[in-house]
Amino acid sequence: MDFTKPTIEYADLWPLLVVFGVACAGVVVEAFVPRALRFIIQTALAVAGILVALAGTVIVARDLDVLGDGVARGAIDAEGTIAVDGPALFFWGILLVFALGGALLFAERRLEGGVSAFAGQAAALPGTEAERQASTRGLEHTEVYPLMMFALGGMMLFSAANDLLTLFVALEVLSLPLYLLCGLARRRRLLSQEAALKYFLLGAFSSAFFLYGVALVYGFSGAMGFAEINEAVRNDIGNQTLLLMGIGMISVGLLFKVGAAPFHSWTPDVYQGAPTPVTAFMAAGTKIAAFGAMLRIFYVAFGSDRWTWQPMLWIIAILTMLVGAVLAIVQTDMKRMLAYSSVAHTGFLLTGVLGVQAASELADGEVTSLQAVLFYLTTYGFSIIGAFAIVTLVRDAGGEATQFRSWRGLGRRSPLVAGLFAFFLLSMAGIPLTAGFVGKWAVFTVALAAGAWPVVIAAVLCSIIAVFFYVRVILLMFFDDDDVTAPGEVASVTKPSVLTSATILVGVAATLVLGVVPGPVLDLAANAGQFVR
C-alpha cells in the first residue's frame, strides 16, 4: 500500500496551529524557564497566541472562497478532515475572544493577594503540611496556561472537524485539559478535586457512547467524512437501525458536552467545584465548541434525514429548558444557579438548532437557524464570562462567597458591581435592550418558522420561570436587608486588577451594544453563510 503525503492547507489552518503551537511552547517554558519568570512568560505567550490566532482568523475569513451557489464560503482542508468555512471561522473568532477573557481571568492575582486562583501545588494533599508550605512559599501552577491553550485548540478543532474521527480526537483534546483544570482550585480543594473526578468519569462515559456511535455510523455508511455519510444517508444504502443507533449515541456525547438534560447532571457540580476562571472559560467555550460540532454533524452529515433526529431534539430541548429553569429556582449557591441557568440556555440554543436551516426557505431579512445560534452563543458567552468574573470578586474571609445569603444587600455596599451583575442577569433573562433579548428573539423566531411551536411555547414558559430566579438575585442584592446574615458571612467586593475589570467591562459593553444595535453581529453571522459540505 502506497503512502501518499497528505496536503495540509497551512494558509487556512494556521490560526489553529498557532494555538496548538503556543500550547506546546508553554509546556517547554514549564520545563526550562525558572519558576519566577514562568507566570509572566506564560501569560504573555497565551495572550499573544490568542491575539495572533484571532488576527489570523480574521485574515483567513476575509480570503475565503465563495463556493457554488454562494451560500457557503470556505474550503475543506487537510484531506477532508477539517472544514474551514464561514461558520467555523465565526466559532473560532468567538472562541478566541472568550478565551482571551478566560486568560485574563486566569492571570488575575490581586484577588488572592498576589497568587492566582489555582492551587499552589496540586499534588499536595488538602490540609497537609505540604499544602501549607506551598501556600506560604507562594507557589502556583503556571501549567494552567498551556492546558487552557490545548483546550482552546481542541474547541476550535471540534467546531471545524469534518469527519467523525477528527471530531472524536478534538473532543478528547478539549476535554482532558479541562478535567485537569477543574481540579486545581486554590480554595475548597476537595470540592474541586471531586468535581474534576466526576467530570472525568462522566466525560469518559459519554465519550464511550460517542465512540460507539461513531462506530455504528461507520458501520452504516462505510465512511468517516461528513459528506460521505450524508451521501449514504440520502441514498439510504445501509441498515437503518445502525444509523439510528449511531445518531442517538453520537447525540449523547454531544448533548453531554453542551449540558442538555438528562445528560446535564455534571454541570452544577463541576461549575461549582472548578476554579471560577475555569468555570467562566468552559461555560462559554465548551458550549460554543459543542454547538459548533452539533450543528455541523446534524446539518451536514445527517442533514438530509432531518425528520429522524428532530423529534428527539424537540423532546430534549423542552426537557433541558424545563430542568434548567426549574432546578435553578431552588438553588442557594450563585455558581450552581448559574450552572443550571446555563442548562436552561442550552435548551434555548437547542430550540434554535431546530429552526430553518436553508436561507432559501426564508423571506428576505429573516435569520437562519445557524445565524440565530451563532448570535445567541455570542451574547451568552459575553454575559456568562462577565457574570462569573463578578463572582470571583465577591469574597469573604474564606475566598469567594458564592452562597446567596452572603450576597444580601450587596447592591447597597457595592452598587457598581452589583449593578453590573444585575445587568448580566437581565441579559440572560432576555430583557429588552440587552443582548440576551435579541438572542432569544432570534432562536425563537427560527424555531417558530420551522414549525416547532410546541418547543417555542415551552421556551417562552421557561423564560418566564427563568426571569424569576434571575430577578430574585437582583432583589437579594438590592432590596434585602443584610442584617439577617451573620457578620462573618457578609461578602464584600474585592477590588480586582485591570485584567478582571477589563473582562467585565468588555462583557458589559458587548451585552449592551448587542442588545441595542444587534445588526452588525447578526450580519456577520449571516455573512458566515452555510456549512461547507
Binding site: 468519569l201 459519554s206 439510528l244 442517538g248 438534560a261 445528560f263 452544577p268 429522524t308 429556582i329 420561570i465
Partner: protein, 642 residues
C-alpha cells in the same frame, strides 16, 4: 367662497391664512411659552415669573384684538381663515393636521379668553402676592390659557380634544393648587374623575366621527354631515352633549363644580366661571352642523339646560359660602347658554352672547368675592359678612354692577342677553319659555340675597377681622370688568352679534313669540323684581342669623346639600363601582394571583423534587446518563422504525 342662505346650515370653508393671520399660532404659543418657562425654569424665575406670566396673555390679547379688527373689516363671506401648521397624525386613513381655524366664533372666544384672562392675571399678582408658590400658579394659569385657546382655535375635533384635555389638566392642577389641604386635593380629583366621564363621551364621539365621515375636520364634517343617518347624528349629538355636560357642569355631571371652589379665587373666576366651563357651550355651537340635523339631541340639550338652570339656582339660594353660591349661579347661567344652544339656529348667537356677558359679570363678581375674602381673612361664610359696602367701596360698587347685570336689570349687559334667550325660548315653546322666565326670577332672588348678606345689614364679622379695601392691582381689573358688565349689551346693537356669527352658526329669525317682544321683556323684568323683593323681605328687613338655622324646610335642606347630587352619584355610581372593584380585586387575588403564585409554588416544589436526583453521587449521574442514552436511542428507533 361662501354662499349664505337664510336657514341653511353653514359649511366651514376657510381660506388659508396670510398676512396678519399667519401670526395665529402665536396666540397659543405665547402663553404656552410662558407656561414652559415658568414651570421648567423653576425657582430661577421666581422673581419675575408672575410679570412674564401676565405679559404673555396680554400679548395674546393684543394679537387677538388686531385679528378681530381685521376680521370685522373683511367681507362677510371671507371671515373664515385656517392655518395649517404641520401634519400631526398620519396613520392609515387617519390624517390629522395641526390646523387652526379663525372665524367669528373663535374670534369672540379669543377676545373673552385673553381679555378676561389678562385681567385675572393682573388681579392674581395682588391676590397671590403672599403665596410662596406664586410663580407656579402663573405657570398653571398660562398653561390653562394656552389650552383653552387651542380648544377654540382647533380646526378639527382632535385638536379641540387636545385643548379640552389640556384645560382639564390645568383645572385639576389649579383646583388642587393648595394641595396641602386634603379638601382641595379631593376636589381636584373629583373634578378630574367626573370630567373623565365626559371625556369618554367626547372621545367616543370623535372615533365615531372618524368612522362615519373619515375625518375629524370641521371643514369635512360640516360638508358631509347630511350624508349620515339620523340615528348616527343623534348618537353623535348625545355623545357630544355628554362631553359638554361634564366640562360645563350641567346635570347630571354637575357635582364637581362646587368642590372646585377649593381653588384660589382667580381660578374660580377665570376657569370655573368665565371660560373653561363654557367650553361645553362652545362645543355644541361649534357642532351646529350636527345638532341642526339631530333634533332629538337638541331636545336633550334643552332638557339638560332647564334642569341645570333650576338645579344651579336652587343651590345658589341655599349656600352660605359666597363662592359656592356663585358656583351654583354659574351652573344656572350656563344652563341658559345651553338652552340657547339647544334652541338651534335661532339661539346659537344668543347663547354665545350670554356666554360673553356672563364671562364679564361673573368674572367680575368672583373677583369681587375674592376681594371680599381678601379683606375678611379668607372667610367665605356670608353669615360672617354684612355691612361691607362702607369698608370696601370699590369692591362693593363693581360687585353691584355685576349683580345688576346678572339679574337682568334693564340696560345692563345681562338684561339684553338673558332677555333674548327667554324670548327665543318662548317662541320655541310655552313650557320652555316659562321655565326660563321663572329661572330669571330665582336668579334675582339668590343674587339679591348674596348682595344683602355681604354688603348690607348688620356687621356679623368674626373677632379680629378688619375688613379693608384691596390694593389697586386687584381693584383695577374689577373696575374694568364692571365696565364690561355694564356695557356688554352693546354687542346686540343693530343685531350685530347675530350677523357677525351668522357665517358660523347660520341665522334664522325665531318664530314670532306668542307675545310681543316688549311684553316678554316687561314680564321678565317683573318676575325678576318679584324675586328681588322676596329676597329683600327675607334678608333685607330681617336680621341674618350668624349661624345657619337648622329647623328649615326639606327644600332648603336639599338645596344646601346641592340637591343630593353627591349622594346620587355615590348611590348610583360610586358604591356599585366600589363593589365591582372589590369583586375584581378578590378575583385578581384569588384567581389571577392564585394561579401565578400557585404556579410558582408548584414550580418550586417540582424543583425541590427534581433536586433529589442531584445527590452528588457519580453513580447516580452515570445512571441518568445511561438512562438518557437508552431513551434517546430507543426513541429514535421507535419513532423511525415503527
Amino acid at each position: 367662497m361662501y354662499a349664505f342662505n337664510e336657514g341653511a346650515i353653514p359649511v366651514v370653508d376657510p381660506t388659508s391664512a396670510d398676512g396678519i393671520y399667519s401670526l395665529l399660532w402665536l396666540i397659543i404659543a405665547l402663553p404656552l411659552a410662558g407656561a414652559a418657562i415658568l414651570l421648567v425654569g423653576g425657582r430661577f424665575t421666581d422673581k419675575w415669573g408672575h410679570l412674564l406670566g401676565t405679559l404673555l396673555p396680554i400679548g395674546s390679547f393684543g394679537l387677538s384684538l388686531a385679528l378681530f379688527l381685521d376680521l370685522v373689516g373683511r367681507d362677510e363671506a371671507d371671515r373664515q381663515v385656517s392655518q395649517h401648521l404641520y401634519t400631526w397624525i398620519q396613520v392609515g386613513g387617519l390624517d390629522v393636521g395641526a390646523d387652526l381655524l379663525y372665524d367669528p366664533l373663535s374670534a369672540l372666544f379669543l377676545l373673552l379668553i385673553t381679555g378676561v384672562g389678562s385681567l385675572i392675571h393682573v388681579y392674581s399678582i395682588g391676590y397671590m402676592a403672599h403665596d410662596p408658590r406664586r410663580r407656579r400658579f402663573f405657570g398653571y394659569l398660562n398653561l390653562f390659557v394656552a389650552a383653552m385657546l387651542t380648544l377654540v382655535l382647533a380646526e378639527n375635533y382632535l385638536g379641540l380634544f387636545l385643548g379640552w384635555e389640556g384645560v382639564g389638566l390645568a383645572s385639576y392642577l389649579l383646583i388642587g393648587f393648595w394641595q396641602h389641604k386634603p379638601s382641595a386635593a379631593a376636589a381636584a380629583k373629583k373634578a378630574f374623575v367626573i370630567n373623565r366621564v365626559g371625556d369618554m363621551g367626547m372621545s367616543t364621539a370623535i372615533m365615531m366621527l372618524f368612522v362615519t365621515f373619515g375625518s375629524t375636520s370641521f371643514t369635512v364634517i360640516s360638508e358631509k354631515a347630511g350624508d349620515a343617518s339620523d340615528t348616527q347624528l343623534t348618537i353623535l349629538g348625545l355623545l357630544l352633549l355628554l362631553g359638554a355636560c361634564a366640562k360645563s357642569a350641567q346635570f347630571p355631571l354637575q357635582a364637581w363644580l362646587l368642590d372646585a371652589m377649593e381653588g384660589p379665587t382667580p381660578v374660580s373666576a377665570l376657569i370655573h366661571a368665565a371660560t373653561m366651563v363654557t367650553a361645553g357651550v362652545y362645543l355644541i355651537v361649534r357642532s351646529n352642523f350636527i345638532f341642526e340635523l339631530a333634533p332629538h339631541a337638541q331636545t336633550a340639550v334643552v332638557v339638560v339646560a332647564l334642569i341645570s338652570i333650576f338645579w344651579g339656582a336652587a343651590i345658589g339660594c341655599a349656600k352660605d359660602d359666597i363662592k359656592k353660591g356663585l358656583a351654583g349661579s354659574t351652573m344656572s347661567q350656563i344652563g341658559y347658554m345651553m338652552l340657547g344652544a339647544g334652541l338651534g339656529a335661532a339661539g346659537y348667537a344668543f347663547a354665545i352672547f350670554h356666554l360673553m356677558t356672563h364671562g364679564f359679570f361673573k368674572a367680575n363678581m368672583f373677583l369681587g368675592a375674592g376681594s371680599v375674602m381678601h379683606g375678611m381673612d379668607d372667610d367665605v361664610d356670608m353669615r360672617h359678612y354684612g355691612a361691607l359696602r362702607k369698608m370696601m367701596p370699590v369692591t362693593f360698587l363693581t360687585f353691584a354692577m355685576g349683580y345688576l347685570a346678572i339679574i337682568g336689570f334693564p340696560g345692563f349687559s345681562g338684561f339684553w342677553s338673558k332677555d333674548k334667550i327667554i324670548e327665543t325660548a318662548l317662541a320655541d315653546s310655552w313650557l320652555v319659555g316659562i321655565c326660563a322666565l321663572l329661572g330669571a326670577g330665582v336668579t334675582g332672588f339668590y343674587m339679591t340675597r348674596m348682595m344683602l348678606m355681604t354688603f348690607f345689614g348688620e356687621k356679623r364679622w368674626e373677632k379680629d377681622v378688619h375688613p379693608h379695601e384691596s390694593p389697586s392691582v386687584m381693584t383695577g381689573p374689577l373696575v374694568a370688568l364692571a365696565a364690561l358688565s355694564v356695557l356688554g349689551g352693546i354687542m346686540l346693537a343693530g343685531d350685530w352679534i347675530q350677523d357677525f356669527l351668522a357665517p358660523v352658526v347660520g341665522s334664522e329669525a325665531h318664530d314670532d313669540p306668542p307675545l310681543p317682544a316688549l311684553a316678554v321683556t316687561t314680564i321678565a323684568v317683573l318676575v325678576v323684581a318679584a324675586g328681588v323683593a322676596l329676597a329683600w323681605m327675607l334678608f333685607g328687613r330681617q336680621a341674618v342669623p350668624r349661624t345657619a338655622p337648622q329647623d328649615v324646610s326639606f327644600a332648603t335642606r336639599a338645596a344646601r346639600a346641592e340637591l343630593y347630587g353627591n349622594q346620587i352619584n355615590d348611590g348610583l355610581v360610586v358604591t356599585p363601582t366600589r363593589h365591582l372593584v372589590g369583586g375584581l380585586l378578590v378575583l385578581d387575588k384569588r384567581g389571577v394571583d392564585g394561579t401565578l403564585t400557585g404556579g410558582a409554588t408548584g414550580v418550586g416544589a417540582l424543583g425541590g423534587l427534581a433536586r433529589r436526583a442531584q445527590n452528588g453521587f457519580v453513580r447516580t449521574y452515570a445512571l441518568s446518563l445511561l438512562g438518557g442514552a437508552l431513551l434517546v436511542v430507543l426513541a429514535l428507533l421507535a419513532v423511525n422504525l415503527a
